[in-house]
Symmetry: C2
Subunit: 319 residues, 2 copies
């Protein structure tokens, strides 16, 4: 809870189906939502830091399938994906806005959806500041997240000589997705990595304070996101495939390709203290390579020999 | 053009279908878009004023039908609807974020869509600061708009004794919609009111500087939005139906019910100078009633006698 935002009560809402849905969500959110009901929200920001804003959409049958997730998980996951973009900038969240497109048949499940969103908002220490509800044929959530950062981490911040690090252990979401697509049920640990990703908000600020100077969150897969960072920074990222931390039983290729991880890929001119990081967050921090030269590229090596990296994930070219 | 935002060039984008679409939009927008391509945007705000944020979704077959509008109009209209919420707060726009859900068949029309968005962004003197592109079965645009206001106008600001004013002449969108639904083509003036609404951004700031203390934009119809304002403020709004300014040939009931007007309903303790307003903006400003008492209600009178107001518009109860 930031305590920084407007503390006026919600504005009384008029009659109508859309407002009934908003009322139900506000009931579930309690103190997690602030001053809802005007044409726009008034947002109080802390005096220091720059305003950082991102928007992210999760659409049924593109980003999730309703038969694979509960509505609480759908709400949680869409919110986590959006907040993960703030983590990638090392920003502290200041509030979220929810634009919800709701099929008529999902109206009974609004409370559950709100609970999932609320869980993620609470664990990130932030607030729901506004939104919009409309009906539509497919369930869709667009989360716009606001935050502040003293020194935002950019994709374009990597320089030749930087060490490359990744948080967590990769491959869980890809494996879970594969099992779901084959009609099997992933075990509880895999399912949790897929359904309940954690935006690495505090981790990112810790890393930025200790010298990390470029970051991206792994939503398209480590290789694909490394490519985005390489292109933005104009450096080649040399990754040692055998160093990439994978969950038990996951191949190196799967760890490199797995999307929707919401772990962080960061670069730093000096070494980052992985032991202190693990102590602080109970999470791995692993050095996996080095930035070199000035040509945008990703080079993946195994046992010192160059290997073809697996393809990443693009909603417009693959599904 | 605010000139206030980040002036770094766009970050080079990686390969992939989603980025190809972003590249095409950036090509159309030119200097109207700033520093696109990181996980989140860094937004510079002017030193004074409060941050005001709103999010608004336009979904195919709910808010528009593709056979009624060009893609440029769809883009323009979705952006105008979102910016109108900033107008209702008397905020000056600082930038917009576009979350676009695009059916595959609309990919060739992205340039036209971007042109319509760009036209609205340019005429509002603001910038595209970020967004998200995903595919989906229905075309959907969620616009999140940021602005700043020295003294934001709230729905809850009306007090007993306030005069009630409305901008413009009402009824055009309802009439245009009726003709389109009946398979007829509205004339150019009606079509323009429907396809090309103007967010009353400068008008709102002018009114706020001259004493207006509550406002709402007319998206659900004057009666429905008056109800929202009455409920939020805890006053009864007494409206003189015969004073409500209608386009030529439009009945009073249609003017009261017409939604998607994006005109402003404001209240003010003192008189507002309609002649000076008309001189400044070439737009009507009409006093249409008075706020009284402390019971949230809307009372519509014709020739001094109470009449039943027409119903408003709610996406969840009517279409």
């Amino acid at each position: 809870m930031t305590g920084r935002n407007d503390t006026r009560p919600h504005i009384p809402l008029g009659p109508g189906g859309e407002f009934d849905i908003v009322r139900r969500m506000l009931q579930r959110w309690g103190n997690l939502a602030r001053s809802i009901g005007d044409d726009a929200a008034i947002v109080q920001l802390p005096p220091n830091g720059q305003l950082v804003v991102s928007t992210d959409t999760s659409v049924e049958d593109v980003h999730f399938r309703r038969e694979w997730l509960t509505h609480a998980e759908i709400g949680y996951r869409a919110t986590a994906a959006a907040l993960s973009d703030l983590a990638a900038m090392a920003a502290e969240p200041a509030g979220i806005f929810l634009a919800l497109t709701l099929p008529e048949t999902d109206v009974p499940l609004v409370d559950e959806l709100a609970d999932g969103i609320g869980e993620c908002v609470a664990s990130a220490g932030t607030l729901v500041l506004g939104g919009d509800v409309t009906r539509g044929e497919k369930l869709s959530l667009t989360l716009t997240v606001l935050g502040t950062a003293i020194v935002p981490l950019l994709r374009s911040g990597a320089k030749s000589g930087d060490r490359i690090y990744v948080t967590g252990r990769l491959g869980g979401p890809l494996r879970a997705l594969r099992e779901l697509r084959e009609g099997r049920s992933p075990g509880p640990a895999l399912r949790r990595r897929f359904a309940h990703p954690v935006p690495r908000l505090r981790e990112a600020r810790w890393l930025a304070e200790r010298g990390a100077r470029a970051a991206i969150d792994i939503s398209d897969g480590l290789i694909a996101d490394a490519r985005h960072l390489a292109v933005a920074s104009g450096v080649a990222l040399h990754l040692r495939a055998e160093s990439v931390p994978a969950l038990a039983g996951i191949s190196s290729d799967d760890a490199l390709a797995s999307g929707e991880e919401y772990e962080l890929l960061v670069t730093s001119p000096g070494p980052l203290d992985a032991a202190a990081f693990r102590q602080e967050f109970g999470l791995e921090l692993t050095e996996i390579g080095e930035a070199r030269g000035d040509e945008a590229d990703v080079v993946s090596t195994a046992a010192g020999r160059r290997v073809a990296p697996p393809a990443g994930y693009d909603h417009f070219t693959a599904q």
